[in-house]
Assembly symmetry: C2
Homo-oligomer: 418 residues x 2
């Protein structure tokens, strides 16, 4: 196994002012590459902590990645600690210097000596180009180990990793005799982890060389399949064979685009030139916000209505007074009127409505917290489906949004009657 | 200084399937109590990793807290590792046993032997009652060190910490001769970190015994002031004296409720019985979603309009065709018409509109990516303010939402002309 350690540097992480999402992201990417994360540690922004931790983790890991502490103000500290650890001095990287000049010129900003310090690196290290910021990544190979130092800003960290490090790690992997995992992922939607297991668990026994992982999230369950040593052609065939079997067993729960639900939904709608509008009660605009996360979403989402109060439901989307009185705001009838009237007012191909009891208050025996009706309307008909999610407000709102996307996606893709 | 280590146990954290928010939360809470977080580490769900890490971190810390691995299925592993580390066997905790029986009875569920295993603890340890779940926390005092083992489910972890551990730590703190930090936090909004520094940095020299930390986020900058050894009355006076000076220097940028912007906004609107509606373009419903995150928000947000397309702006909120043609969708005039018409249609006390270029595409020299107009309307007038945020889509959308809240909050609280 190829082992990696991730070190996040920064007091703001230790004291919880910032939640460390970098380590999770790196963990995911390294796992995809078949590398085993051995340790992930967060340490203080100081010279001796950095050196001590590098020393300890070098003993047992092949790859060590640090994030944080490379900005212009904290430059000295972290880079000097790295240089001390390697027992070398600093040198100026000419390409980084030119990149800095070009970066500031393009923005019409003045460049100062402080900025040029970003071109200083430990003399045994190479710069990894940062295409969206000024602090380069740092790469050092020593004693058959790879060391990478990345800035803490997540998008810069990700960009340097994707643009530079993936290829270095792939070359490194194949240069070793050690085994590593090759992974494939199947994205599902609209099905619980336990129901996936019911359908495919017999394959876990049949394919005992494959490691199965069920990875649930609000947007669906990812199924990750890992097999050792993908260099062998035989193993790749086993994996492909298994994937075909799973695809047929999970058929209409598979996301065909092989990506997260939101991205798949986006791509599918763009491809078909479809438009959408939303009518949201308990999610308060969250579905609209989710649908506009990706660039280019103006081609899909035209707009919608936040109908949090009963008055808004009546005044903005003409829900009948009697519907609200007789069935309540959280009901099939209300969800249907919301979706249908929303589509008509917006002139879109489809409309989604969401009305539910997010909690923690407002539940009853008949309609407990977590009860959510989701309506879907197209030019031929409007239908609503009931869900009973959880007790937790945040979870209920997240599940409502993603379940709505899942319903419409599966209805269109697989002609599922909802 | 009292030093603590946080150990998060779980493969799902290492491979990045779950972002570790527990360690950040614990870091924040321990910091509030004046305890210094020395290390935060994530390790694999296995016997020897757990023991090795406990051994290493015991050498240099007074307090060690683990999260994760206490659920009924993983019970044996983690608890056995803890028992091995302390070199003891297991015993059954009678109170936990009774709690389990009561917990399952109340829910009408059958209790099995697997469930009773949750009452087994290392024989040198005490159970910490879990008021919302079945796995108790575990507390051990050994060689003047405190060890706490908590479940990984965030709300159970938090509940056990708040209900049991805070008081144990406070007693421990005062039983030691060591110094610890006492912290006070000032919440600001509508002002950059650098501008706060300009106004108050002279106080950093004047009050050299106080540690200043500027903690920026999308919702505003928190200013954290720390002073050693709060047991001395003198130091508390120094801190109070400093806080009064800072409050007067930052006056209208202070959040009076002394909490995060969203909570303060919510509380202020509830107190005044005010209603609000929103008209959102580039945020796509995100402001509505944010405003409905807290329970009880139906008293404030009545609803709103997601006007992502120009047609939606015209059809839903009657923005003039000529306004859009002459000034564009991202303009003062459009923002004003959106906010004013939204308020009138919804019949609310206030309305907020947001229209901007979130990016990454759609910018021009005159209106670069990040240009956002925010309109605010009440019964006397409607005004819009221009902002130029960043190049990043996600950041621009987050900043738009929080800046809108900040504008309206400061306008009402301090009568700021915007």
């Amino acid at each position: 196994m190829i082992k990696a350690a991730i070190i996040a540097i920064g007091d703001e992480l230790l004291i919880g002012e910032t939640i460390n999402s970098n380590s999770a992201w790196l963990g995911k990417e390294l796992t995809k590459l078949g590398i085993t994360i051995n340790t992930s540690v967060t340490i203080s922004d100081n010279h001796s902590s950095i050196i001590d931790t590098l020393e300890k983790l070098s003993e047992i890991n092949d790859i060590i990645i640090t994030t944080g502490g490379l900005g212009p103000t904290k430059d000295d500290l972290t880079k000097k600690a790295i240089a001390s650890f390697f027992k070398v001095g600093m040198h100026e990287d000419e390409i980084t210097r030119l990149h800095l000049i070009e970066y500031f010129n393009r923005r019409g900003r003045e460049i100062t000596d402080l900025h040029f310090e970003q071109a200083l690196l430990p003399s045994c290290s190479k710069a990894l180009k940062n295409n969206i910021g000024t602090a380069p990544g740092i790469f050092t190979k020593k004693n058959k180990r790879l060391y990478f130092n990345l800035p803490g800003v997540p998008r810069e960290m990700k960009s340097i990793f994707e643009d530079n490090i993936v290829s270095i790690l792939n070359n490194f992997k194949y240069s070793l005799v050690e085994d590593f995992y090759h992974y494939e992922t199947i994205y599902t939607t609209g099905i619980f982890e336990s129901d996936i297991a019911k359908r495919i668990s017999h394959l876990e026994e049949e394919y005992e060389s494959v490691k199965f992982a069920y990875l649930p999230s609000y947007s669906g369950v990812r199924l990750r399949l890992g097999i050792l040593n993908s260099k062998l052609v035989k193993n790749k065939t086993i994996l492909n064979d298994l994937i075909i079997k799973i695809q047929s067993l999970l058929h209409t729960f598979i996301i065909e685009e092989n990506s997260q639900l939101l991205n798949a939904f986006h791509e599918y709608f763009i491809k078909n030139n479809w438009t959408l509008s939303v009518a949201e009660s308990c999610t308060g605009g969250g579905l609209g916000s989710l649908l506009t996360e990706l660039k280019g979403s103006s081609k899909i989402l035209q707009g919608g209505f936040i109908v949090y109060s009963n008055n808004a439901k009546k005044n903005l989307l003409d829900v009948n007074e009697t519907t609200l009185e007789k069935y309540g705001a959280v009901s099939e009838q209300t969800a249907i009127e919301l979706a249908n009237n929303c589509r008509k007012k917006m002139g879109t191909d489809f409309a989604i409505s969401i009305t539910g009891i997010a909690g923690p208050d407002g539940g009853s025996t008949k309609k407990p917290v977590g009860t959510v009706w989701i309506g879907i309307s197209d030019s031929t008909k409007t239908k609503a489906t009931k869900f009973v999610f959880l007790k937790n407000r945040e979870a209920n709102r997240e599940l409502s949004k993603f379940t709505a996307l899942s319903l419409l996606y599966r209805k269109l893709k697989y002609n599922i009657e909802i």
